[in-house]
């Protein structure tokens, strides 16, 4: 069966003064219907840009999707007209962000903002959309939904605002929800509730979830399948149990070093010694070489391709690749 979302060899580049910055450099990934795929990686590795590229949100003078293919439900998103893409966004394909406060319009009521996509995509009337908005507020676990519908964003707490964002995102029953670090800005207890909510909604509606995070605790709790990114590339991917049990790439091993306990969300990510490389100064070899304890000569000369290591798992590392 064809995957719901199928990204192939995606290239997203930024034109900078110092040269071309490959924010996303040949990323491929698949999300099947109802599945939860997590993208993990340190800050700046291109997680958000991957998601933005899918939605056609990389625009403006400097950034553009320079290559690859993004198929969603069989349609090629990168070749769609703006108009077609617009009718898809917020309808079949939704996204939520890290900062719910700044994603909401400060001068419009919560109810009005939830009603907007309903009116746009499902063509509901004003009254009907508002009624549905109140229901949605209830569905995302906020009590007194009628009052909240009339409130403004600054009157609600961060956790409630993220619930509201989720309500907006799922209002038109999307097939895929992309969540870019949805819990990073929230405190730990609220994080767990938001993840619960996402799982609950998923169970009810069968939507797929592409979850971006740098928190392996979140991955352990949510993912079916994990994509590990480093410097714009996928360095390892695999089914969640396998990847946690047997990480093959030294970077993944580093991330997992202080093992997250399943079902427990941790606050801090163990940090691997060394710096994330400047994406403009990447040489020919493995981008992780400067921080890798196993780095060999070959690693600096030649870039390791992503290759299968056992079933349901792939890694881009010369320790596992075939000799070549």
């Amino acid at each position: 069966m064809e995957a719901l979302l199928d990204i192939r060899e995606l290239q997203t580049h930024f034109q900078t003064e110092a040269g071309v910055l490959r924010a996303v450099d040949g990323v491929s990934l698949r999300v099947r219907e109802g599945e939860t795929v997590c993208i993990v990686g340190e800050s700046g590795c291109g997680k958000s840009m991957t998601a933005m590229s899918v939605l056609g949100l990389v625009e403006g003078p400097s950034g553009k999707v320079a290559g690859g293919e993004v198929r969603f439900g069989g349609r090629d998103l990168l070749r769609m007209s703006r108009q077609e893409l617009r009718t898809l966004r917020g309808h079949e394909l939704s996204m939520i962000f890290q900062e719910p406060m700044s994603s909401l319009n400060p001068v419009l009521t919560i109810g009005r903002q939830i009603a907007e996509p309903l009116r746009e995509h499902l063509r509901l009337g004003r009254k009907e959309a508002m009624r549905r908005a109140v229901e949605l507020i209830r569905e995302v676990g906020i009590s007194r939904p009628e009052q909240i519908a009339d409130a403004y964003p600054h009157e609600l707490s961060g956790g409630m605002l993220q619930r509201v964002m989720i309500a907006i995102a799922v209002s038109c029953k999307p097939k895929l929800l992309i969540a870019d670090e949805p819990t990073t800005a929230l405190d730990v207890t609220i994080q767990a509730q938001i993840l619960d909510l996402l799982r609950g909604l998923q169970a009810k509606s069968g939507m797929a979830l592409l979850l971006i995070t740098h928190d392996l605790g979140v991955v352990a709790e949510m993912a079916d399948y994990v994509i590990v990114m480093y410097a714009g590339k996928v360095v390892e991917e695999g089914e969640v149990e396998r990847l946690f049990r047997e990480p093959r790439h030294p970077y993944t091993q580093g991330l997992l070093r202080s093992k997250p306990v399943l079902g427990q969300v941790r606050e801090e990510l163990y940090s691997i010694p060394g710096q994330v490389p400047n994406p403009l100064e990447l040489g020919a070899g493995c981008a992780f070489a400067d921080r890798c304890e196993f780095a060999m000569d070959r690693c600096r000369r030649q870039e390791p391709p992503l290759a299968p290591v056992g079933s349901d798992q792939q890694a881009a590392c010369w320790l596992h690749g075939k000799e070549g």
Binding site: R86, M101, S102, P106, V107, E116, E120, I142, I148, L156
Partner: protein
């Protein structure tokens, strides 16, 4: 689901009543500001006096009365009489009607023009933006008073009848008023459209019209209110200056500016202060009061102060 019920972080009364917060908050903070309240009261009083006052005056017909020329204030003429024996108080109020009307109307015109052009420029950008903003820049590089003087002088040259001059002055003021306004509105739009919540509307797949009218414009309302308020003061002042130089609204239509002009000679200035102090004070008080109120409005409505 074990979920915290709706915990309200900021205000326990959130969402209690419709439209409670934003405008309600602003109004409450405004009422606490003494300068704003006094400013508002002065303006309100001025409006009431000018528009209702003359109805109760026995001298509202402006009959020339040679027997009562240049009389100082007395029980029958509280602010004295002018060179034609007309009641100064009544004249000041009637002049206020004109001055305030010109101020309000030219404000309305320039805000409408400025907001419309600023929105179009900021939202659609590209060539439209270039055209509008070049025109605005051009008008802004010419200082507005000389421009108004030239226009006023042309009006006199072409012998435009006094009753229609009032309307032409309104339009003149709007023409010099819109560029600054358009630029401010455009700037605000450019910064608003980069804000995350506007980008979020793209992510939601909302069409352009809905994003502009439903999401962007409401954020512009506070700015427009503040600009409009401050603009009235500026327009009243400009009209007074123009009329003082005989280039704005001309007699017999009275305005505060041309009333002072009528007293603009050594004898009147030294010996008959009741001729120029009342209109002068009216301009001063009205403009100051409007600006105080406008400044307070800006403090209260400034989006940057809102979290």
């Amino acid at each position: 689901m074990s979920v915290a019920n709706g915990r309200l972080a900021v205000q326990p009364g959130a969402g209690r009543s419709k439209r409670s917060s934003i405008w309600g908050d602003a109004a409450r903070r405004l009422i606490r500001n003494k300068l704003a309240v006094s400013g508002f009261l002065v303006v309100a009083l001025m409006f009431a006096a000018c528009f209702l006052g003359p109805l109760f005056s026995p001298y509202a017909d402006n009959k020339i009365n040679m027997a009562q020329m240049n009389r100082p204030p007395s029980a029958s003429h509280w602010l004295g009489t002018d060179a034609l024996g007309r009641d100064v108080l009544t004249r000041v109020l009637q002049a206020g009607r004109i001055s305030l009307t010109v101020g309000l109307a030219s404000m309305g015109l320039s805000v409408a023009l400025g907001a419309l052009l600023g929105i179009v420029a900021g939202y659609y950008r590209g060539i439209v933006d270039q055209l509008i903003m070049r025109l605005a820049d051009l008008l802004l590089t010419i200082p507005s008073l000389p421009l108004l003087f030239i226009a006023g002088a042309l009006l006199s040259e072409w012998k435009v009848p006094p009753d229609s001059r009032m309307y032409i002055v309104m339009i003149m003021l709007a023409v010099v008023g819109w560029p600054g306004l358009a630029r401010m509105v455009r700037g605000q739009i450019l910064s608003l459209r980069e804000r995350e919540f506007m980008q979020a509307t793209t992510v939601l797949g909302l069409r352009g019209r809905r994003r502009l009218l439903g999401h962007l414009l409401p954020n512009l309302v506070p700015l427009l209110i503040v600009i409009a308020t401050l603009n009235i003061g500026g327009a009243i002042l400009s009209e007074s200056v123009l009329s003082f130089f005989g280039l704005g609204v001309t007699p017999p239509t009275p305005t505060w500016g041309n009333m002072i002009d009528a007293a603009n000679n050594m004898i009147d200035f030294e010996k008959r202060p009741w001729l120029w102090i009342p209109p002068g004070f009216s301009i001063f008080a009205t403009v100051i009061a409007i600006n105080l109120f406008g400044d307070a409005l800006r403090d209260v409505l400034d989006p940057k102060q809102r979290r």
